[in-house]
Amino acid sequence: MINGLTLLLLCQLCGEVLGRALHLPVPGPVIGMALLFAGLLLRDRLSDRPAEAPAAPGLGQTADTLLMHLGLLFVPAGVGVVVYLPQLARDWAPLSLAVVAGTLAGIAFTGRLAQALIRRLG
C-alpha cells in the first residue's frame, strides 16, 4: 500500500517538475501517468516476465483502491458550487444546456466514431 502510494507520488512529483521545467501546458499528474505507464512498459521490456504478472508490488492494490473511490475525490471541488450560486442563478439556462447537450453530443459522437474507426482500423 505505502510502496504503491510512494511510487504514485514520485511519478506525480516528477511530472510536476518536468511540466514546470519544460513549460508544458499539461498538468503534472497527467505527465506522471504517462511516466508511470512508460516505466511499467520499459520494465517489462528489460525483464522477460509473463505479461500477466502483477505490476509493482503494492502498486496494483493501491491503484485499485484509489480508483474504486475515484468519485469521492471530486466531492470537495464539487461542493465549491456554493460559491458560484449568484452566477448560476443568472446564467443557469445557457450553463445547464451547454453542459448537458455538449456532454451527450460528445459521448454520442465519440462513441459512434470510435466504434466505426475500431472496425475499420482494427
Partner: protein, 239 residues
C-alpha cells in the same frame, strides 16, 4: 453544562469535521446508489455534493473553511490520476491494436464536446467569461481550471461545470450510448472518458475492465489534446 458554542467553534475550525463529513456524505451516496441497484442515474458524487452543499448553506459555513479539511481528499486526485496508468498497462495488449482509432476518436470527440457546449452558450447569450469557463468542460478538473484561466474564464466556475459534465456523462452517458447502438466496450469507454473525464471513467471502471482502461486513456489523451489546442483555437476564433 457543556458549552455548545465552544464545541461548534472547535468543529468549524478543525479539518477533522469537514473531512469526516465528506467521507460520511460519500458513504451515504454509495448506500443510496446500492439501494438503487447501481442504476447510473443514482450518482453517489451528485448526492454527496448536494448533501454537503446544503449542509454548508444551512449551517452558514464558509466554503474555504470546509475546504481546509476536505483538501486532504482533494489532494488524492493527483495520485489517482497517475494511478490510471495501471488499468491502461493491464489492458495494454488489448488497447495497443486500436491505439490509432482511439487517438482519432478522442481528438475529434473532444472537439465536438467543447464546440457544442460553446455554441449553446453563445446562442443563449451567456456572458463571455461564462462561455470561456464552459469551453474546457470535458477535461479533468485541474487541467480545465488552468485552461479557463488562460482564456479568460472563471476557474472556480469551471470546476463546477466540469463536475456537472462528469455527472451528466456518468448518469446519462450509458443510456445515450445504448440509444446510439454503441456496443463495443472499447468505444463506450473512449466516449465516457473523452466527454466525462474522471467521473465517466469511474463509472466505466465499475461496469467493465476494458471500458475502464479505454476511458482512462481517453481522459488522459483529451486532457493533453485540449490543453495543447484549446487556448490556440480560442485566440484564433475570439481573440
Amino acid at each position: 453544562m457543556v458549552d455548545l458554542s465552544e464545541i461548534w467553534v472547535y468543529l468549524a475550525r478543525d479539518p477533522l469535521a469537514a473531512l469526516t463529513a465528506t467521507l460520511l456524505a460519500w458513504m451515504a451516496g454509495l448506500r443510496l446508489a446500492a439501494l438503487c441497484r447501481w442504476h447510473p442515474a443514482a450518482n453517489p458524487v451528485l448526492f454527496a455534493v448536494a448533501l454537503l452543499a446544503a449542509a454548508l448553506l444551512l449551517a452558514g459555513i464558509d466554503y474555504r473553511q470546509y475546504f481546509q479539511g476536505a483538501q486532504f481528499v482533494h489532494f488524492l486526485l493527483g495520485p489517482a490520476t497517475v494511478a490510471l496508468a495501471v488499468p491502461l498497462y493491464r489492458q495494454w495488449q488489448h488497447v495497443r491494436s486500436s491505439a490509432l482509432a482511439a487517438l482519432l476518436a478522442v481528438i475529434a470527440g473532444g472537439g465536438v464536446a467543447a464546440a457544442v457546449g460553446v455554441a449553446f452558450a453563445l446562442a443563449l447569450g451567456a456572458a463571455p467569461e461564462i462561455t470561456a469557463s464552459l469551453a474546457p468542460r470535458s477535461v479533468t478538473t485541474p487541467v480545465a481550471m488552468g485552461i479557463a484561466e488562460q482564456i479568460g474564464g472563471l476557474p472556480g466556475l469551471t470546476a463546477a461545470v466540469v463536475l456537472a459534465s462528469g455527472v451528466t456523462g456518468a448518469t446519462l452517458g450509458p443510456m445515450t450510448l445504448n440509444l446510439m447502438r454503441v456496443k463495443d466496450w472499447r468505444a463506450r469507454g473512449l466516449a465516457m472518458g473523452t466527454a466525462a473525464h474522471g467521473l465517466g471513467t469511474a463509472r466505466a471502471i465499475a461496469v467493465n475492465a476494458t471500458a475502464g482502461a479505454f476511458s482512462g486513456m481517453a481522459m488522459g489523451l483529451n486532457a493533453l489534446a485540449t490543453a495543447l489546442m484549446l487556448p490556440l483555437l480560442w485566440r484564433l476564433v475570439f481573440g
